[in-house]
């Protein structure tokens, strides 16, 4: 599992995030009215997971570790 809710309420995406991560991420983000996601240690993100981020538009803590993800960062709020 690469999606984790930290104690401070921030959701952390780390390492390789496969499509299976999409559902738990959706649950975490739904539960928080002002969600925040930390993706600094994230290496790859499955499109299914990215879709959840695009819809939920959480506050993103970055930049992520991977070049390609940094290119995607523009689609998400800082």
């Amino acid at each position: 599992m690469t999606v984790k809710a930290a104690v401070n309420g921030i959701v952390v995406l780390s390492g390789v995030c496969p499509s299976e991560d999409a559902e738990p991420l959706q649950r975490y983000l739904q539960a928080d009215p002002v969600p925040t996601v930390d993706w600094r240690t994230c290496e790859t993100l499955h499109a299914a997971v990215f879709q959840v981020l695009l819809v939920a538009r959480p506050h993103m803590v970055g930049p992520p570790g991977d070049d390609f993800l940094r290119r995607l960062a523009g689609h998400l709020p800082r």
């Binding site: 499509s19 739904q30 879709q51």
Partner: protein, 733 residues
């Protein structure tokens, strides 16, 4: 080209032929479900084949047409002329690609763009889009390229390719990760992600339904991108961003090319005359060529180059500019080709009926038995056995029969039905008729008549030319026909039949016929014949003048014919194949052009004669009779000799003298004459001995001997020596 591709090319041509025939039949009777199914199957096979050999662009294009046909099968859309036209356009494209594959082993570089154009035909408005096509209509949003380029100006500078990928909604279930795919793209510069449909609320989002459109710019080439996206190409739209300036699509005409080349020659000539005048006039001519072609875009750089040349006092800038256009035009692939060009070269490979091959295999078995039987005779001869003559004679008879059969069998392999060339015409006629106010119904007869493969393959061009002429000049327009009380739809008949050893192909129209008076006038105007010569000619002889070089009755140069290639080309090709051309015209009722061609170009019956101890062959078809006459029968007429034969004076040509032979003669008292008929004139050849007769495959003379006057070719004699075949036309002249 590997064997696999060769097969693919053959199959493609066959499928395209099949599909074309089906589509044309379907256009005539849209309710013909069998034809529709057959066309659909042909498209389906084409797509499958293209998929196997990894020609994705081709698979994509054919897939588009297949979709269109599948809606027609379901009844979602009607079978319209537009649909048929689009499918035919797809087949045209496929054939162009197949030609390219046959030449270079690969699709042209811009294939994906051409494929997209084909696909677009099937996804535009008329019902196809309204059908159940779940695929994204990527072509609708042309603006996406512009917008991504505008949003990422830095990336745009390096970008060579823009692509738009719309994954299927359920792609996540098939292990597809669209983001990872784009991340792996070679030379990725930038990526934009947007939803296909507006995003729902987070609580309503199904995270496993993909709702993304990915647009990216890459610095990699179109081919590399194609490779990377190979398995999702049907969901991608790839746009190459190379040169911004696109050349106008119209190719230079032959005339334009020759004009350009002439100007180039003028510029490069070292004759030191008025430099400025030379450059200026060349510049003006070239610019005018482009203006006349409608390529005003090309005229501008030429004018600039002219100015530069004049300023620098050198011809180089203008010469370079002209060369650049000439060569680029030459190198440019894929432009729609005119009829009768390289595009029409027939398939080199040939499919052969398995039964024919089987019968050849059987023959070889029999030949082996015959060979063994001769081995037995050899053994007997070695043992000093007497009276083998009878046995040898028998064996020879067997071998003679078998080899005759073998020859027949091998020749039969080279035989093709005329259908192969006839079947291309319904399609061409459709195109031609679409461009003119003429409606033509094509009737083909005797398509199963067989002829030598070489002949069938070479027939297309002359046939096309005659057909084109018939439609363009022979057949009146609809109004004209109605006024004359003819049916509005003209009939063009393409007919093939065997006549003895010949194959006859007839192209007959029911148009206005040939205006003999006009032919006379034009013949005089263009110096094809003098007024005196014309006065002595019969009407049919005058009509036949249209086959003379330099003759063309076209009053205006149209798209269809009159490209400066006259009917003389038709005659040249037919004569080269060993045939003759005839024309018959009835004023107001139509014209019929007839090609008479030998059935086989290979076998010629030869008679061996000898003169001064040397043997020569004479083609037997020219020989009328052989005579033995007393020496008094030949009379001297001036420097020549002649003989009176059935009240006709026939010139006698002594072969020894004609060929300047000095060998020993075994001429007896009586003269031996071979009377030959060449071009309707009889001549008698005086020879020493008349020998055997046999069928031979004539080989044209090669190397030093090629072009030797009086010799038509060579073949081998039974003893292995070479027999030269005389060209009687040359000798009897």
């Amino acid at each position: 080209m590997n064997e696999f591709l060769e097969q693919f090319v053959i199959e493609c041509r066959e499928q395209v032929e099949q599909a074309t025939a089906d589509l044309l039949a379907l256009e005539k009777s849209p309710s013909n479900i069998e034809r529709l199914d057959s066309a659909f199957r042909a498209f389906h096979s084409l797509k499958g084949g293209a998929g196997i050999v990894d020609f994705d662009a081709m698979a994509e294009a054919v897939h588009g047409a297949e979709d269109g046909l599948s809606y027609a099968r379901k009844g979602t859309i009607a079978i319209s002329t537009t649909l048929i036209g689009d499918c035919l356009a797809c087949l045209d494209q496929v054939i162009q690609w197949v030609d390219e594959i046959a030449r270079r082993g690969d699709l042209p570089r811009d294939a994906s763009k051409q494929a997209a154009a084909i696909v677009a035909r099937f996804s535009r408005g008329d019902g196809v889009a309204a059908g159940a096509d779940p695929r994204p209509q990527v072509e609708q949003s042309v603006g996406w390229v512009t917008s991504i380029l505008a949003e990422h100006p830095d990336a745009a500078r390096e970008a060579r390719c823009a692509l738009r990928y719309t994954p299927s909604a359920d792609c996540f279930f098939s292990q597809e990760d669209p983001l990872a795919r784009i991340a792996r793209l070679p030379g990725l510069l930038t990526i934009d992600v947007s939803p296909v449909h507006p995003w729902p609320q987070l609580c309503d989002l199904d995270p496993f339904q993909c709702n993304l459109v990915l647009v990216a710019l890459s610095s990699a080439s179109e081919t590399e991108i194609h490779k990377a996206l190979a398995d999702v190409l049907d969901r991608c739209h790839i746009e190459a961003l190379e040169e911004t300036v696109r050349r106008p699509s119209s190719s230079l005409s032959l005339d334009a090319r020759s004009l350009l080349e002439a100007q180039l020659g003028l510029l490069e000539s070292t004759v030191n005359d008025d430099f400025a005048g030379k450059v200026a006039s060349a510049g003006v001519v070239v610019a005018n060529v482009f203006l006349a072609q409608g390529d005003s875009g090309l005229a501008v750089p030429i004018e600039e180059a002219t100015a530069q040349s004049l300023a620098e006092g050198q011809t180089a800038p203008l010469a370079h500019a002209i060369k650049a256009i000439l060569f680029e035009e030459a190198a440019k692939p894929g432009a729609p080709l005119a009829f009768g060009t390289e595009h029409d070269t027939a398939a080199r490979a040939l499919r052969i009926d398995a039964r024919r091959v089987d019968s050849l295999v059987d023959l070889t078995t029999e030949l082996t038995v015959a060979k063994n039987a001769i081995g037995h005779v050899v053994a007997l001869a070695q043992n000093g056995e007497e009276g083998l003559e009878q046995l040898l004679k028998q064996r020879f008879a067997v071998l003679d029969r078998l080899i005759g059969e073998l020859q027949q069998g091998v020749l039969a392999l080279r035989v093709l039905p005329l259908r192969h060339v006839f079947q291309r015409f319904p399609r061409l006629l459709r195109d031609i008729a679409a461009g003119l106010d003429k409606s033509v119904n094509l009737v083909t007869e005797g398509a199963e008549t067989e002829a030598d493969k070489a002949i069938v393959e070479m027939l297309f061009e002359p046939l096309l030319h005659v057909v084109r002429n018939a439609i363009d000049h022979g057949i009146e327009d609809k109004a004209g026909r109605l006024a004359l009380g003819k049916p509005a739809v003209a009939t063009l008949k393409l007919r093939g039949y065997r006549e003895g050893e010949n194959v006859v192909i007839e192209i007959a129209d029911d148009g206005q016929g040939i205006n003999v008076e006009r032919v006379r006038q034009v013949a005089i105007d263009r110096g094809v014949a003098t007024a005196e010569a014309l006065a002595a000619m019969s009407e049919s002889q005058v009509t036949a003048l249209i086959f003379e070089p330099g003759f063309s009755t076209a009053q205006s140069v149209t798209d269809l014919s009159g490209r400066g290639v006259g009917m003389d080309v038709v005659r040249t090709i037919i004569v080269r194949m060993g045939g003759t051309v005839g024309i018959e015209s009835r004023p107001g009722a139509g014209t019929a052009v007839r090609f008479t061609l030998p059935f086989s170009v290979m076998l010629t019956r030869i008679m061996v004669v000898s003169a001064a101890g040397q043997k020569f062959g004479i083609p037997l078809d020219a020989v009328v009779e052989t005579l033995r006459v007393g020496p008094d029968a030949i009379a001297r007429v001036g420097a020549a000799q002649a003989i009176v034969l059935r009240n006709q004076t026939v010139p006698v040509i002594d072969l020894r003298e004609a060929l300047n032979l000095h060998g020993e003669s075994d001429r007896r008292r009586d003269a031996i004459l071979v009377v030959a008929n060449v071009d309707g004139v009889s001549s008698a050849l005086q020879v020493d001995v008349i020998g055997e007769r046999f069928d031979a495959m004539l080989k044209p003379l090669e190397g030093l001997l090629s072009g030797t006057p009086g010799l038509a070719g060579s073949t081998l004699l039974g003893d292995g020596s070479i027999l030269l075949i005389l060209d009687l036309t040359e000798l009897c002249r």
